[in-house]
Amino acid sequence: MANKRSAEIPSTSSIHWLMVTLTIIAIPHFFYQPLWVAAIFLLMMGWRLMNSWHGWPLPADKRLLKVLHSIGAILTIVLVFYSYGITIGRDAGVALLTTMAAFKMVEVKNLRDVYLSCFMGFFLIITHFFFNQSIPIVILMLVNVILLTSCLITANESDSSIKHRLQQSTVMVLQAMPLMLLLFVLFPRISGPIWGLPNDAMDIPDSLPDSMTLGEVPPQNSAVTGMADNITIGNISQLIQSDAIAFRVKFDNNQFPERQDLYWRGPVLWHTDGKRWLPLSDNQKRYENGSKIHVAGDAFSYSMTLEPHDRRWLFALDFPTAYPQTMQTRLSADGELNSSDPIKQRTQYQLSSHTEYLFNPQNDPYLQYGLNLPEDRHPRSQQLARSLLEKTPTDQAYIEAVLNYFRQQDFSYSLTPPALRGDTIDQFLFESRQGFCEHYAASFTVLMRAAGIPARIVTGYQGGEVNPVDQVLTVRQRDAHAWTEVWLPQQGWIRIDPTAAVSSERVDFGIRDLLPAERRSPAAIANNDRLVELWQSAKNNWDALNSAWEMWVVSYGPDRQMQLLEKLGMHQPDWEKMIRWLIIGIALIFGWIAWTTLRLKTIPQDRVQRFYQKFCLKLARYGVVRQPHEGPEDFSRRAQLALPQYQQQIAMISYCYMHLRYRGEALEDDFIESVKNFRPHR
């Protein structure tokens, strides 16, 4: 329909505006992408700028340039394949889109090209969300959409001022928001993926390792969140570097367990070669009827929002007694709660746990694994175990003796222990004596097994921070912890945290207090208590906002939608009901926008004018419409002829009006009164 317009040449100012917009949209990508993406982008923008400032030729002007431009584009595609491999994943796709938008910018020559560039801009905006889903990036999205809309306005109306185009597009985007929110809440969500996802579809932050290797000293400046390859072999101290969130917990009725009971159970490690600790292999693992739990006290119900970690395990407050209904899970015989699929997106589940329990008090299928120690390792530790065992009559007494050994010798808790060489357990127990949970848990387990007490290492998280604003407990990667469980007849598996023997603060107050002060608050204000407090409360509020944001916006999916709609009073929401309400909502919004845009009457400031218009309107209802060319006198004459029974009133009102208008005499109240009393009937 508009084909004649497509050939129009866009004005230079509209092209500049488009370039500015695309650059603003592309900038966030430069941080994730290799440098050459930014370089090519800016090079192309520079070319176009030089064309409009200094008249440099564009590809369309010279054949040679056209060839060069095409070769450049092809080389860029090759470069993308070279850097990212042959499959187009998330990063490669974004790199391709960014550079192609820049290449297109140089050849924009008509309206069609401008639209194409704008549409590529919209695509670039959506790709931001693959990398970041925070509140600021959504604000940036709004700004970007406003800018792109203003580009479309300018494309059609090249002489529009910057103020007008921004004002117009801002108004449009603001008016678009009710529909956006309505669709966001009510549009029936489908759980993806519809087709396959590329491997790099999401960032996986650090997570608990599935094994533990003692003695590795982590690099000090490792990235806080990295890609998947560093999670296969990691260790807990590396996680302590990371403030990334592992999961959030909301306790029903805000009933929190005691701080020292906040052990979030994760993978259980059994096998060791003296250095490395591994979980049970898949064929050793049993699920059905493996465990008998006897509980006491009240259950704690809570909902967990777990960040994706690409593993199957779920975390639960030690010890889970009711399992999630919303997903397929199973509890292994050694107390690992596992999902049937890897957790690839933020997942929410409802659990309840008892903190007082007996776990397999009669018998346990894995007792023999809990006694295995590699032969000919840890000679000094074995020696120590034997000497302590001689002095103690019972298992309990032995355990107490080992803990006392940790307490009384010069063991200390350190996040930066020295590197261990040779027999790591012996070296730790008798030489370095500095370490964190991993070291204590591993050496304690060795000492237990040496004395014939079945023992295993449980990894997971300990503690967490309760945000006073929304009462959500946030557990971060730095809360990662390892402890031990020993099995005693009639008592089952008992949790013993040897780290607590050395550093009770770790358990009582959480890891936060053990971190250096500059990790807790910015160094600049660390010396001022009031500022620290203020900063902390601002941080709490921001965290609460973010937590609500991530729960209700970022992870708003099919489940959340059902949950929200039920909360809003929809009984058993299904897509038919959603569509019905959606249609009602759309109709209301349609009406509202129609009303705001079409409100045609301007209300004059001047009272006399306003009432004269009222008078005209009253006459118009009886078919006497004032024509644009008619003055009040002519109109009055015609109206008097048309409605002779009101001749006098019409004449009076018109006379007053003309008097007021042209002589300014004070008849105003009389005039208004007579208009009010003027009620013509046929």
Binding site: M1, A2, N3, K4, R5, L111, Y115, F119, F122, F123, I125, I126, F129, F130, Q133, I137, V138, M141, L142, V145, L152, I153, A155, N156, E157, S160, Q168, M172, V173, Q175, A176, M177, P178, L179, M180, L181, L183, F184, F187, R189, I190, S191, G192, P193, I194, W195, L197, A201, Q345, V553, V554, S555, Y556, G557, I593, T597, L598, L600, T602, P628
Partner: protein
């Protein structure tokens, strides 16, 4: 009650506004669908948010586009006769009734002859874009001369105007039609290189006693309809408000009589008419008196605007 309001509203609407997505609007909706599929596939909630925002922007654009042409009022003026292949300048008064300016108004024209066919959209390609209105200020009326092309002499039925706008972001086209319902006379195209024929020898003394002419000033008489405009005594009008026409005497008494036979050597009728038209205009500008002899019609010698129009009309309607 509601019905009454509806009817009143219908009466106030002088025209019906149509709205359809342009091809950019169609691409825009495809873009949204593709993006939404991507967002679903990646379970990306904020991707959904962006798609819905774009849906909202499209929806708002529809209202703005509609509003932009809805609050327009128009009055058509009367089209004056023109020479063939000159555009008819149709006066169109556009009133912006809204408190906001009306932007990007395009006016296109559909000749009455091509208004056929059962599929209404097919006509769209036949519309000829004529005029881009400048921004219409809020609550103002402005006069626009719409240049309607002509290509045939005689009466021309003016077809239909389409007032359309892709405001604000070009995704939707809103338009309404104005049926002009006027016919305008198209004079033949003045053309031809033949010199004026020699002055007429015919002395029709009866009607032209006083030898009215153009060369020497001979006094005033009161204006009569049809007097040449350039002979009006404007200065005298400013003095006492009476419209007078200057009279000239023409001692030479140049009177022209253009005869169909004078142009007999020209190849076709249109060329003949064009040549006659050219002569009439030349004679008229020179202030001569002239007459016209066509095969079935004779116009006696006279001068003035009305006479000129009469002669040209005879040429325009020759053979019709």
């Amino acid at each position: 009650m509601l019905r009454q309001y509806w009817q009143r509203w219908r009466q106030q609407q002088r025209y019906r506004v149509f709205i359809l997505p342009s091809r950019y609007g169609l691409s825009y909706s495809i873009l949204i669908v593709v993006m939404l599929l991507g967002a679903i596939n990646y379970n990306n909630s904020l991707g959904h948010l962006l798609c819905f925002l774009l849906v909202g922007v499209g929806h708002v654009a529809m209202h703005h586009s509609y509003r932009n042409v809805r609050q327009l009022d128009y009055q058509l003026g009367h089209a004056e006769p023109v020479f063939c292949q000159q555009p008819v300048l149709l006066p169109l008064n556009l009133t912006n009734q809204s408190p906001r300016p009306i932007r990007q108004l395009d006016i296109a024209y559909l000749p009455s002859t091509s208004r056929s066919g059962w599929w209404p959209l097919k006509q769209f390609s036949r519309y000829i874009p004529l005029y881009k209105a400048p921004q219409l200020a809020a609550e103002q009326t402005s006069l626009h001369l719409i240049p309607i092309p002509t290509n045939k002499r005689g009466w021309q039925d003016l077809g239909r105007l389409r007032l359309s706008s892709v405001y604000p972001i070009g995704l939707l086209l809103s338009w309404f039609f104005i049926d002009i319902q006027q016919r305008v006379l198209i004079y033949p195209r003045p053309m031809g290189s033949k010199p004026l024929p020699p002055p007429s020898a015919i002395e029709d003394a009866g009607s032209l006693q006083h030898q009215q002419g153009l060369d020497d000033f001979a006094g005033f008489h009161r204006y009569r309809v049809g007097d040449a405009r350039q002979h009006i005594a404007w200065k005298a009008l400013a003095r006492d408000g009476i419209l007078r026409t200057k009279q000239f005497s023409s001692p030479s008494g140049q009177k022209m009589l253009f005869n169909w036979d004078d142009v007999a050597d020209l190849p076709d009728t249109e060329a003949k008419l064009s040549q006659l038209c050219q002569w009439i205009l030349t004679a008229d500008t020179a202030g001569m008196q002239y007459g016209l002899i066509l095969p079935k019609q004779t116009i006696t010698i006279d001068s003035g605007d009305q006479h000129r129009h009469f002669c040209l009309q005879s040429l325009a309607l020759y053979g019709q």
